[in-house]
């Protein structure tokens, strides 16, 4: 029975590792490869930590398992080894992990600064925020500046409004202003690896550069009430040309007076 329990403790890390190894092939992994420039950096750091952590995990579990196995196979009557510890070992396993940990945190700084420090945002993005994303219970309200004008922190006449769908040009850094109308929310685009809380009373700029045209989920990641899970939106990255086309169409729709071109409105209705 002793051996059974030792094997029990040896067995489960193997299962855990196996599950992690097959996870990517079973689609139990990231929703997709990172689709933004910072996403690649974040994933790089993730895999770096993953390797360090995996080695540590295996090391400690092997150590534990071996110690248990040794204990389980000990002959009856054999005494435990009387020892109060070892200074050498203590020093070793203090210094080595501390170097590793300092190393990990140093590798993060650059990426963190790129993501969060306003002064290090790409210039073109910082100067012309494309939209203001306002979270509210339980949807994302988008406000674009009137085409040809600069986004202002307060609504302006001619601003364009939409809900739950943010269009941005692809392959260029874009900045959006994030705010909330009511409680705290968080802007989370899993495939872009972007997350930022929307804090009442603050306007928080975020930037990202989407590398491939397409649709990307946008969800809420900070509990905002009963409908937290309902805040389902998408970010649509498209070429500059179709982005401008979209804004133009949005402007037309926003000025819809019900009597314009019959054919256009008929197709619009459907």
């Amino acid at each position: 029975m002793k051996k059974f329990w030792a094997l029990f403790f040896i067995f489960w890390p193997i299962v855990a590792l196996y599950v992690c190894l097959v996870a990517p092939s079973r689609n139990w992994w990231f929703p997709s490869a990172p689709m933004s420039s910072v996403g690649h950096q974040i994933d790089g750091l993730f895999y770096l930590i993953l390797i360090i952590v995996a080695v540590t995990f295996v090391g400690t579990q092997v150590g534990l398992g071996y110690a248990l196995w040794k204990g389980a196979t000990k002959k009856s009557g054999e005494k435990a080894v009387f020892s109060h510890g070892s200074h050498k070992l203590e020093i070793m396993w203090t210094i080595v992990p501390s170097f590793v940990l300092v190393f990990i945190s140093l590798t993060q700084l650059e990426v963190l600064a790129n993501i969060r420090v306003l002064a290090r945002f790409p210039d073109e993005a910082r100067k012309t925020p494309v939209a203001e994303v306002t979270a509210r219970q339980f949807e994302w309200r988008i406000r674009y500046p009137k085409p040809g004008t600069q986004l202002s922190t307060e609504p302006q006449e001619g601003d364009l409004y939409f809900v739950n769908e943010l269009h941005v040009p692809v392959s260029q850094p874009v900045m959006v202003h994030l705010r909330t109308q009511d409680v705290q929310h968080a802007f989370f685009a899993p495939k872009l690896r972007v997350k930022q809380d929307a804090v009442p009373g603050l306007v928080i700029p975020i930037w990202f550069e989407i590398e491939k045209a397409g649709e990307y989920e946008l969800v809420c990641a900070e509990l905002c009430g009963w409908g937290h899970y309902k805040m389902k939106a998408r970010i649509i990255a498209e070429s500059e040309e179709s982005y401008l086309k979209y804004l133009a169409a949005l402007e037309t729709d926003q000025n819809e007076d019900g009597v314009a071109d019959e054919a256009a409105s008929a197709s619009d209705e459907e």
Binding site: W28, I49, S83, E90, Q108, A186
Partner: protein, 617 residues
């Protein structure tokens, strides 16, 4: 032995319980008792019951995640809620489930079971005192739990039976600050805050008591570095608690003021956390000037140290139990103490890692990241030392040991997953996903609760004079361990897949749809784990009547408590104990000279034995 006179101020009692005391009624002996052992057992029983409540809430959460919007068992049919919906719960009910699961588990189970139950029971016994320094305060600390439980109970129904407190155990404003912000933000939230404050009062009374007792009431010869690691951990926890708790209490009062000051007949209204011009649920716009982030700073200034409050005592107890079950001294006793102290110290400067995505200044993020990384170091040292303790030991593979070994194995997972979240850029992705849920369940369930399971069985003979059935405990261990890993390990993968926490229906989102089968597997694991707890409860209750009678020292352990009768009478020790050595001298030459593999801290050196190196460290 009889010639020893106690030099510390503890009142000495003889074996005779009634000696020097007036007659005790049932009420004063078992209900409003000032005996630390009774209070400890009261805490233990209360928290085990609360564990079942919290567990039931967790199963309800799991049910919804596995069978979203299906008819929820018990809730609908038995409680008569959601009748026209056929037992399909509402989203605000779901927010209540996870909020109250966390609140119950943290405030009514983990914190009181460690400090309240084992702290109370063990501190005087292990340091050789006859009781706590302030017995009445101790009694109050238990009886302040009940108003807290009552407040939490009222909060379930204060805003309607389907909308208990539902703003997360973190209760971030404005959701928790504006009564209109959510169904659960009304009276329910207020009662929840009252409950929280009362738990704080209870903890604070305990902390003061533990610190005083440990500093002042140690038996002769019980120097600081002869204290068992349990006592060290309780001591450090008490300090942490005493310094961190006032901040939470203050924050709680600020929030209560924000919520209720408009009811006061004065013109003084507070808006600590409320910015101006916020409209929720078409209520009047807020008049403000406050800052919601302030709450996060204050809350985490307490709650991060609280995470260690929920862990350190278990670490200490597991160190004790591992040494005993391996018949071997704890590997690196002093490094263990120092690393606990380091965890406590660093614990005060890492709270910001809960706020990496909050919009806090990025420069702060960098500092908090570095300090958070560094707090992994003492944890790592402890893990290595535990493995060192098991290494070359003469291991007794009973359920106590298995639970302790599980503590070590699972704490490693919880610790390592923490590194991902300490790294800000990676945390940006993992923040508020199931990865964090996996992380803290590995620490709080995998580590702390397994430690508690071990401790319950280990000290059960001392509490009741009978042993728990080891076979049942092994079944309990195996089922819980398998259920626990089946439930929480996949959560890492859910987190990597980007599933945000606190979602009533994650499958609404296309990129999460395929995770439903995995969630169903997790729910089945959780149900197995949940029902396995009946084995523990049954064993606990039945062993009281039918368990094997235990002597003073059934495990052959060294601590002072094992020199007392089982259960110890009023005043604990029949002879005032004197401590001669450290607590972990298992298999020492000294013990061998006595023909055994342990040597009680109270045993004087055997005749003719030359104490050459009874301090190996």
């Amino acid at each position: 032995m009889a010639t020893v006179t106690p030099s510390l101020g503890a009142h000495v009692h003889s074996d005779d319980h009634s000696h020097g005391h007036h007659e005790q009624t049932f009420i004063s002996k078992y209900v409003f008792s000032i005996d630390h052992k009774v209070i400890g057992i009261q805490f233990l029983v209360t928290t085990l019951l609360m564990l079942m409540v919290g567990g039931a809430l967790a199963l309800a959460v799991r049910w919804q995640l596995a069978f979203p919007w299906g008819s929820m068992p018990i809730v609908g049919k038995l409680f008569g809620l959601f009748q026209t919906e056929g037992g399909q719960i509402s989203p605000e009910f779901y927010t209540m489930l996870f909020t109250m699961h966390a609140s119950v588990m943290i405030f009514l189970v983990i914190i009181p079971v460690l400090a309240g139950a084992f702290g109370n029971f063990l501190i005087p016994l292990q340091i050789g005192a006859d009781d706590m320094a302030f017995p009445v305060l101790n009694m109050l600390s238990y009886w302040f739990m009940w108003p807290a439980i009552a407040c939490f109970g009222i909060s379930f129904v204060a805003s309607g039976a389907t909308a208990g407190p539902g703003n997360g155990w973190t209760s971030y404003p404005l959701l928790s600050d504006l009564a209109d912000a959510a169904p659960s933000s009304g009276a329910a939230q207020t009662w929840w805050l009252f409950g929280l404050t009362l738990v704080g009062v209870s903890s604070m009374m305990g902390s003061v008591n533990y610190m005083t007792t440990i500093i002042n009431m140690r038996a002769p010869g019980m120097t600081m570095f002869r204290m068992p690691l349990t006592i060290w951990s309780m001591f450090i926890t008490a300090i942490l608690q005493a310094f961190a708790l006032p901040v939470l209490t203050a924050a709680g009062f600020m929030l209560v003021f924000d919520r209720l000051s408009s009811l006061l007949p004065t013109d003084v209204h507070s808006v600590f956390f409320i910015p101006a011009g916020i409209v929720v649920n078409n209520a009047a716009p807020t008049i403000g000037g406050g800052q919601p982030l302030l709450w996060q700073h204050l809350f985490w200034f307490y709650s991060h140290p609280a995470v260690y409050i929920m862990l350190l005592p278990a670490m200490g107890m597991v160190s004790d139990m591992l040494a005993c079950m391996c018949r071997k001294p704890v590997f690196g006793y002093k490094p263990m103490v120092y690393s606990m102290a380091a965890i406590a110290g660093l614990g005060f400067i890492v709270w910001g890692h809960h706020m990496f995505t909050s919009g806090m200044n990025p420069a702060l993020g960098m500092t908090f990241m570095t300090s958070t990384m560094m707090i992994a170091l003492p944890s790592a040292i402890k893990v290595f030392n535990w493995i060192g303790t098991i290494w070359d030991g003469n291991i007794k593979f009973n359920a106590v040991f298995l639970n302790c070994a599980a503590f070590v194995a699972l704490f490693v997972v919880g610790g390592l997953s923490g590194i991902f979240m300490a790294a800000v850029p990676v945390d940006i992705y993992f923040h508020d996903t199931y990865f964090i849920v996996a992380h803290f369940h590995y620490v709080l369930f995998g580590a702390t609760l397994f430690g508690v399971f071990a401790a319950v069985q280990f000290w059960y003979p001392k509490m009741f004079g009978r042993e728990m059935n080891d076979t049942v405990q092994k079944w309990h261990f195996a089922l819980t361990f398998i259920g626990m890993n089946g439930t929480f390990f996949p959560m890492h993968l859910l987190g990597i897949a980007g599933m945000p926490r606190r979602y009533a229906d994650p499958y609404l989102h296309g990129y999460l749809e395929h995770l439903l089968p995995m969630n169903q597997f997790m729910t089945i694991s959780a149900i197995i784990m949940g029902f396995a707890q009946f084995l523990l409860l049954g064993n606990f209750a039945l062993s009281f009547f039918f368990g094997k009678k235990a002597g003073r020292n059934p495990w052959g352990a060294n601590g002072l408590e094992w020199s007392a009768p089982s259960p110890p009478g009023h005043g604990n020790f029949d002879v005032p104990p004197v401590c001669y050595r450290g607590p972990y001298e298992y298999s020492s030459p000294e013990a061998e000279a006595m023909g055994q593999d342990f040597i009680l801290q109270t045993s004087p050196p055997p005749a003719g034995y030359k104490a050459s190196s009874n301090h190996g460290h």
